[in-house]
């Protein structure tokens, strides 16, 4: 039943003539996040006041701000009529992809973001692809929608079909590649950094540079100067402690105190950039492109 593909554990079982492989981590994480979002949505809905004249509660304001963001920012370029019918779909897609991307920073062992799995992203891209046809047929009728593939001249039919497929493929691959690339950067950068930091010489150098930087920076940028100065001081102290320990014959752990400090700061910064910032931007890009594809098909 269970087999390994690369490093992933998959559940393999025959379904009729084909053999199906499921990744339990991805499946569980994506379904769990969907349920979590559902619960979140129901909780937000309960915050809507019964009588519209009442002062809105915090939850209602949050919901309003969220939908307003999706309606005006993500769906800003879509025509007025289509915007209303696309709003629930695009808002759901945005929230789901955002939750999937942000789940990569959760400190759960073995946790990978569902969007790190090509099956999830390609599935979402296929969903959007099917919806473009649905909206196209609904807006223009089946005949005119299919006729759109013969424009501008009938010879362009193969090119139009290939373009359609390539668009869907790159829609899925883009999200997958960005999230996977961030995860690989996280996995690679911290051990490399720790290997540098292992030597007290390097940490001492880093601490001195930070202290000098802080002293110079304090003139113009008070806050950043103080941050650099205090970080450098802490590092200097840790390096001194480490050296003292190693002088006195106490067996140092493989990663010293300063490595712990530098490693946690670096992993904080890297997680903030690749997990939160890139994850949010990619969720936005995915939904913006989905809205753009549907709009092109429907107009």
């Amino acid at each position: 039943m269970f087999a390994t593909v690369g490093k992933d554990l998959v559940l393999r079982f025959p379904l009729g003539p084909i053999s199906v492989a499921l990744n339990p981590v991805t499946l569980g994480a994506s379904l769990g996040l969907a349920l979590l979002l559902l619960a979140f949505g129901l909780w937000l809905r309960r915050g809507i006041p019964q009588d519209p004249e009442a002062v809105p509660a915090r939850r209602a304001v949050f919901l309003l701000a969220l939908l307003d963001f999706v309606e005006n920012q993500v769906l800003g370029g879509v025509s007025e009529k289509l915007r209303r019918s696309l709003l629930p779909l695009i808002a759901t897609l945005f929230l789901y992809v955002l939750a999937c991307n942000l789940s990569s920073i959760l400190p759960i062992p073995g946790m990978v973001a569902p969007t790190q799995d090509l099956n999830v992203t390609l599935g979402l891209a296929l969903l959007v692809y099917l919806l473009t046809h649905l909206y196209g047929i609904r807006a223009k009728g089946a005949f005119r929608h299919v006729k759109g593939y013969l424009e501008p001249i009938p010879i362009m039919l193969p090119m139009n079909i290939v373009g359609d497929m390539g668009r869907t493929l790159s829609h899925g691959f883009r999200l997958f590649g960005n999230i996977l690339g961030g995860a690989i950067m996280l996995a690679v950068a911290i051990p490399v950094l720790l290997r540098f930091v292992q030597s007290p010489f390097f940490t001492g150098l880093l601490a001195t540079v930070l202290v000098l930087l802080g002293l110079v920076l304090r003139r113009w940028k008070k806050l950043w100067g103080r941050v650099a100065l205090s970080l450098g001081m802490v590092l200097l102290l840790l390096t001194a402690l480490e050296l003292a320990f190693s002088r006195s014959g106490v067996d140092m752990a493989r990663f010293g105190l300063s490595a712990l400090a530098v490693g946690s700061v670096a992993s904080f910064i890297l997680n903030a950039f690749f997990g939160i910032f890139a994850g949010t931007i990619q969720a936005l890009v995915f939904t913006l492109l989905a809205a753009a594809y549907i709009q092109v098909a429907a107009e």
Binding site: G6, N72, Q73, V74, G76, G77, S170, F173, R174, F176, G177, N178, L180, G181, I184, I281, L284, V285, L288, L289, A292
Partner: protein, 79 residues
């Protein structure tokens, strides 16, 4: 060819693939960002629309970079 040479060539190929493949998207995104900023400075009231279109254009320019990332990952871990 010995297995070490194959491994070394794999690393080289992955590095070249990612490094050369990143040039195009970098230039493209630079141009997109520069023009978008210029237009935003000229017409600040259009900034929201411009930002949205800039992100879409960035995503499309990035596609080839993502493809080369995928190929590099495939060379390293799959092939």
């Amino acid at each position: 060819m010995g297995p070490e040479l194959v491994q070394a060539l794999k690393y080289l190929a992955a590095g070249l693939c990612m490094g050369i493949g990143a040039i195009g998207p970098a230039l493209g995104e630079g141009r997109i960002g520069a023009s978008a900023l210029e237009s935003m400075a000229r017409q600040p009231e259009m900034a929201n629309t411009l930002l949205r279109n800039m992100i879409i254009a960035d995503a499309i320019a990035e596609t080839t970079g993502i493809y080369s990332l995928l190929i590099a990952i495939m060379i390293l871990f799959v092939v």
